[in-house]
Amino acid sequence: MLVLQRKLGDGLILNDNIEISIIEINKDKVKIGINAPKTIKILRKEIVEIQKQNKEALNTVNYNVLRSFAQQFTEGKQNDK
């Protein structure tokens, strides 16, 4: 990974058509401005990770596994009482 040090108000140019500026620095938060063509998709990383996780949830879910586990879980709880 390329690591650069930038000051408040500094910027970066990517690929001649994307401009990134450091707008505000506040303790552990940084405000970043991005100027880019409309066709460039910009997403917060955590959103992408959550999307991936949601899709994984659909791909793997298994009714029979869940049923057998839920039954074991319920029985286990009753035994604890």
């Binding site: 959550i50 999307q51 949601n54 899709k55 994984e56 659909l58 879910v61 869940l66 839920a70 709880k77």
Partner: protein, 146 residues
């Protein structure tokens, strides 16, 4: 009305059984779901089935079954989005990722499903707090500490 479900064939639901998402669950387009509970599974795991697309069905996990503390702060903006006035109007569920080997299964604690149970409005919110996207479900459950 009759809807097609992924795991339960065609079922009959009422208009009031529909939960409307203000924003779609991230990565999906569907905004209307219904909740299906199954007696033999109990109320700690429920199915969130899209009413329009039978293939879209999530398993939601009741956070009260974890052995650890999970009571995240819900931001006022999230409550406002769903018209939540009293905390008793809302419930929180986590999306489960269930594998054949249940011990590998996880829940997403970072972005739970928030539901206004009175108005049947919901949203997948992203918590400010530092919760994991993948928390093991098995060791996280009461009485199953490994």
């Amino acid at each position: 009305m009759k809807i097609k479900t992924r795991d339960f064939g065609i079922i009959d639901i009422l208009q009031q059984d529909i939960i409307t998402f203000k924003e779609p669950i991230l990565g999906f387009d569907d905004t209307e779901y219904t909740i299906i509970t199954v007696d033999e599974i109990g109320s700690n795991f429920i199915f969130l089935q899209s009413t329009k697309n039978e293939d879209v069905c999530f398993i939601l996990v009741n956070p009260t079954i974890y052995s650890y503390e999970y009571s995240p702060d819900i931001l006022p903006c999230h409550k406002k989005e769903l018209n939540i006035i009293n905390d008793s109007d809302m419930v929180l569920w986590n999306i489960g990722v269930i594998y054949d080997d249940f011990k590998k299964s996880t829940v997403n604690l970072k972005s739970p499903i928030l539901i206004n149970i009175n108005e049947k409005l919901a949203s997948q919110i992203i918590l400010e707090e530092n919760y994991p996207l993948k928390s093991p479900i098995y060791t996280g459950m009461e009485g199953n500490k490994c």
